[in-house]
Symmetry: C2
Subunit: 458 residues, 2 copies
Amino acid sequence: MRTLGSTALLTDMYELTMIEGAVRSGAAGRRSVFEVFTRRLPAGRRYGVVAGTARVLDAVRAFRFGPEELDYLAEAGIVGQETLDLLRDYRFGGTIRGYAEGECFFPGSPIMTVEGTFADAVVLETVILSILNHDSAVAAAASRMTMAAHGRPCLEMGARRTHEGAAVAAARAAVVGGFVGTSVLEAGRSYGIRAIGTAAHSFTLVHDDEEAAFAAQVATMGPGTTLLVDTYDVTRGVERAVAAARAAGGELGAVRLDSGDLVAQAFTVRKQLDDLGATTTKITVTSDLDEYAIAALNAAPVDSYGVGTKLVTGSGHPTAELVYKLVAREGADGQMHEVAKASKSKASVGGLKVAGRVLDEEGRAAEELVVSCETFEDGLAELRRAEARPLQVELVRDGETVPEHCDDGALAAAAQRHLASRAELPYAGWRLSEGEPAIPTRHVDIFPADDRDPAAII
Amino acid sequence: MRTLGSTALLTDMYELTMIEGAVRSGAAGRRSVFEVFTRRLPAGRRYGVVAGTARVLDAVRAFRFGPEELDYLAEAGIVGQETLDLLRDYRFGGTIRGYAEGECFFPGSPIMTVEGTFADAVVLETVILSILNHDSAVAAAASRMTMAAHGRPCLEMGARRTHEGAAVAAARAAVVGGFVGTSVLEAGRSYGIRAIGTAAHSFTLVHDDEEAAFAAQVATMGPGTTLLVDTYDVTRGVERAVAAARAAGGELGAVRLDSGDLVAQAFTVRKQLDDLGATTTKITVTSDLDEYAIAALNAAPVDSYGVGTKLVTGSGHPTAELVYKLVAREGADGQMHEVAKASKSKASVGGLKVAGRVLDEEGRAAEELVVSCETFEDGLAELRRAEARPLQVELVRDGETVPEHCDDGALAAAAQRHLASRAELPYAGWRLSEGEPAIPTRHVDIFPADDRDPAAII
């Protein structure tokens, strides 16, 4: 678990004005169920990847309004004194369930469910969505890339192409999706991810010649380092690189190619290395890669991939488009009612949801079963009847974070879980080409019919 | 100016291993010039917008290695003791020039130039690029949207669709591009941007009916508030909204439409409001807008636009693809030499650059003149000869930040500057359609020829 500064103002203003209105009307204390889900996957994607769960739990724990936050709210006139007093004491006291981090998800999957009073739960909307939308977008891109790489290591190098804070979260999300290293040091410090990197073209250029640059790098990082060989001429670069390592008494660890036609170059450079006897020297490539470029490079003698821009920007889909919707709440009668927005273009399915993955006889995922129900236990019973693997775990219980999902081991566990979840998908789920979600989502509603909100189920 | 925690680990590992190698070779102390520029604008874009300059200056000032940062570097074995000692004392002591925030830019525009020793300047690469790439991408999208809106106010509401920290920076960048409000409170606190927002669908749904929800909101926010009218049926919603405001003794401020066919609905709702006598009640729309949707809505009676996803993700181009390249450095002879990477696909132009915008007789931008030169003064003289408006300002002088570019007034000044810079573009620059950059970039090299790095100008 990490301790953050207050996350309370990483929040849309309307969350607070809604609390103010609901305090006035008496609805603020109504028991409520909010759900995070997506109406659709990004165009053509086969599956989504839950990422950011541990960061959500850190953010919820740090969601407190201290004097500095309250002063701003008062000075800017965002809400009145009564609401300020309520926010001063705010501490999430409800329950959060969700898909464990790393799990695959599909349209309608209830990937996180927040239960509490309306005021308690509504105010977390913005920060929960920010984290899950960003991290899940990056993890989904990462997963496609590591799938395309077929076991060759993928390394995250995109910090410079995204917001400086997002870069750190992106490095973490990339690990959920199967990456094994990051260029950005803060991700090394915050999440224990292996930091990687040796030198840029500027290092070669600041020296009077390539030989001097390579000698300096080998002197500090050892002959096992990776030398960037494409500042001037690649063939000469490779020659000098191997020579520099041997002059230091070793064989060169790797050469890095960062421009040009990487497939053709990889073959040429591999042959050159082998001809020089540097058969253990590896080749890493790093120029504008995405999952398609990686797939194309699989035929070439490349040993690892460094990925930047396309990874941290979600490879065409920089946000997972998850939404946070009220799906059930206490009514004037004290009973829970399922609710849903009726507008045609954004209609949603009401009710607390319990989700499970139905497997076929061969153990492959066949269906995402999503049950609308009154209590979690009712839904679990329905999953048992369908022999579905339950997908939700308890993340926060009565305001207390479940440590397993945000402690130091959570990231490695999420990466393992993703590998298993992805391996369970049918073959169609592993295709890079655009298509339908790997499995269909089936909604079942066992919510007692007379408790439904009549206005909302038009 | 803001005081941040240390930004020193928002850095790619290789910046530090390069310092280590350069200390060993003696190159670490060589005077160096690094330049931020883009090789190309995102496909079809007519201009870029410089944004994030003030955040860069904050980050440079906070770029210090304290005990926590050094402990991590030591424990992870990133660099050795000699380099740790050097980093302990690190404080940028050089000079940074750049396009003032808000200025338009084009391929090859030297939007930021960092001069210092190699070690001083190389280490800032990652954080400078992270900030400029993110903020400029959002500002460029914002500028296209405000241009499409033709004076109707645009409001930023995208926090939930991007990383929680990026959301705050995005709100700021949107203001550079002409937006006038933000949903996210931290952007209100950090940058003095007007916070906006009233209620979501969940507020209506938590109440037993729409009337109760509207009454509660009007009771706390006054009849001048904006009511969201599309949770159930829009026509009934508008009726109830107007009635709720009048019951509180006023006329409704605005209705918000967040789904459906916004153009058709705007006409229908405007007529309904007028028929109800609510002629002062405004209409704001907020569903999945981008610059094209805004342009289409200009024909409809809409009063303001709330933009989320497409704004904070750069409307298809989430990063500005700016790079940070060594363009000149001291050689073994103690003289400055221009340098450039020769690889075909990523070739760059060497030398310190001085840039100016050449205007035609009508005062419209005609050309981006970029002069490669040995000293800044040489370049300025060339600009004077061409009667070009100089584009670069001093941002950091000998390690001291120039307050004007990062103080509390910097954001408003950047927004003003962008309006003026955009107004100066030729008509072609204002088109939303894909096309060439609004003006061409012309490179002139007045660097003394015999000081060029012979290896690099293949």
